[in-house]
């Protein structure tokens, strides 16, 4: 294991997005905050409490999730994609950086950005809503696994994409529907059948519900199932990404 190499690449990944904080941290923070203000205040005023909490509180975990998922995904996908496009991939391939080293650096780098945006969003939200009661363990577990899974998905997208058009494909056609149908702004339990049951096949629902359990203390039957599902997703995405990196898929000719 090339520890110094991994640490160097990780620090480069983090410094890369910190060089343009307006684009990578501030802008997503502003957009999630706007969601919060618009949906929370305007709708929230007319919404009755959901599951016993005011609507403005209810949507916080989902918004934190959006910040994490979008930014973790964007970071690993665009970083790897740009590395391929501008040819600096050569610098990584000639170095003693194996699949493990590349995975750790790209994934942790992306998680740092996702969690940074997510936690800042949460900070802004707390300013409006005050500190709720928490399940710390569940909160940390779902924050970490959600950011991990989306970093991995971003890495896979970055590996696969060869054109700019393709790299934009995922956020628009995959991430956006999945997250908006993922119960960020509503309670899945309130959906009519068959949508309620269908929703349970959307992993995002379980991530959001898990965070809602952790951050608001709202108990759901499926939290344990959600946790198990996330662990399974972690394992699957890791295995696929590792195998692809090891084979040189779309990295080597």
């Amino acid at each position: 294991m090339n520890v110094v190499g991994t640490r160097t690449l990780l620090s480069k990944e983090v410094r890369r997005f910190l060089k343009v904080p307006g684009q990578t941290v501030l802008s997503p923070l502003i957009s999630t905050t706007l969601y919060f203000v618009v949906f929370g205040y305007t709708l929230g005023a007319r919404q009755t409490d959901l599951e016993g909490v005011p609507y403005i509180r209810f949507i916080v975990p989902g918004l934190v999730f959006l910040g994490i998922a979008n930014n973790a995904f964007l970071n690993s996908s665009s970083s790897l994609f740009i590395t391929k496009i501008q040819g600096t991939l050569v610098d990584l391939l000639v170095a003693p950086l194996g699949p493990m080293e590349l995975l750790i650096a790209f994934i942790v780098g992306a998680m740092v950005r996702g969690l940074l945006v997510g936690l800042l969003t949460w900070g802004v939200a707390l300013f409006f809503t005050g500190m709720p009661s928490l399940h710390w363990g569940a909160t940390i577990f779902f924050l970490l696994t959600a950011s991990y899974v989306f970093s991995m998905l971003g890495l896979l997208a970055g590996l696969w994409a060869e054109k700019f058009e393709q790299i934009n494909f995922f956020p628009t056609f995959f991430m956006l529907p999945l997250t908006f149908l993922g119960g960020v702004f509503y309670s899945v339990d309130k959906l009519p059948e068959p949508f309620r049951t269908l929703s349970l096949f959307n992993p995002v629902v379980h991530m959001v519900e898990g965070l809602r359990y952790g951050m608001l203390g709202l108990a759901h039957g499926q939290v344990a199932f959600g946790a198990a599902l996330l662990l399974v997703l972690t394992v699957i995405t890791t295995a696929v990404a590792y195998a692809l990196l090891k084979s040189g898929y779309k990295l080597k000719v």
């Binding site: 410094r15 600096t88 950086l97």
Partner: protein
């Protein structure tokens, strides 16, 4: 070769969907050698280097670096290999010094500012150290590539057209730097279309075309075997004929009968000996020129023959 060669390529083949870029290439390079790989555009030079440096997935064959088979042991040799890629790349975010520090780190090296300053000085980039790499000139970007390839003190260095677009002065500096690397025991594999460069630097020459390695030979032996020197003589007055002895040896009178020429090849008489005979025959000589053998001509002859019977050792 008594010791393990630094680089040992056996029956290496690389097929792309539509063409064979490398066909059954075998090559061994001993430690401390400067090896020049020559051939026309599309010959397979970059592909060969890529297969060794982990950029190209081979179709078949084996590559060993310092005795490690890349198939089973891809990472350990990487610590000691450096590559100046043919394609210039640059990072839009970081400065020259930062890029060099990152590259050293990728190779497991802790920060070593002295090494970075040494390379910046050697490549005349010191004043650009804190410049974002995107804003360097083309030649400077290439010099940065060279610095990046050397920052971790590799023992085997691949220079894929390192001096393309680099100015004359720096090219000379680079040549002496490469000689210094060799003196320190570094093995260098070089591709270039400036044949003067290969002539200056190389111990051995490999010629590749259409994915096939046509020949590998010591530079001096190759030049002696296939090099042609041209002797041109101008006389003080018109000559009706050359002495028979000189004609037999291949010297010919020019059309204006004011001069004679001779092409010295492997197996012919030597040009100075013919010159001596001209003097001995009391012919009045006004001007003499001897054009040295050129690697360029050797390369062209080998390529035209396609490595056929006449040129292969």
């Amino acid at each position: 070769m008594p010791e393990t060669p630094v680089l040992d390529i056996a029956h290496l083949t690389k097929r792309f969907p539509k063409l064979v870029a490398l066909e059954d290439v075998s090559l061994q390079i001993p430690q401390g050698e400067i090896f020049a790989l020559l051939g026309p555009n599309g010959a397979g030079k970059t592909t060969l280097i890529g297969a060794v440096c982990g950029l190209v997935k081979k179709t078949s064959g084996t590559v060993r670096i310092f005795g490690h088979d890349l198939e089973t042991d891809p990472l350990p040799p990487r610590y000691f290999v450096g590559l100046v890629p043919q394609e210039v790349n640059f990072d839009p975010f970081f400065t020259v010094r930062q890029v060099l520090a990152f590259q050293a780190g990728f190779f497991g090296k802790k920060a070593d500012p002295a090494r970075i300053e040494e390379l910046l000085a050697a490549l005349d980039l010191t004043s650009k150290g804190d410049t974002i790499t995107r804003t360097l000139s083309g030649g400077m970007k290439r010099r940065l590539l060279i610095a990046k390839a050397l920052v971790h003190r590799p023992k085997l260095v691949f220079l894929d057209e390192p001096t393309a677009g680099v100015d004359v002065e720096l090219r000379r500096d680079l040549w002496s730097y490469v000689r210094k690397l060799k003196a320190e025991g570094t093995t260098v594999v070089l591709t270039t279309h400036y044949l003067e460069e290969a002539e200056e630097l190389a111990d051995r020459i490999g010629i590749i075309d259409k994915g096939r390695l046509l020949l590998v030979e010591e530079k001096s032996a190759l030049m002696a075997r296939l090099g042609e020197r041209r002797l041109e003589v101008r006389f003080g007055q018109t000559q009706t004929a050359l002495p028979a002895k000189l004609q037999e040896q291949g010297m010919v009178l020019s059309a204006d009968q004011m001069g004679a020429s001779f092409i010295e090849r492997h197996g012919t008489a030597k040009a100075p000996a013919l010159l001596g005979q001209l003097y001995a025959a009391n012919m009045e000589i006004a001007e003499v020129s001897l054009k040295a053998a050129k690697l360029e001509d050797v390369l062209l002859r080998v390529l035209q023959n396609g490595g056929g019977a006449e040129v292969s050792a």
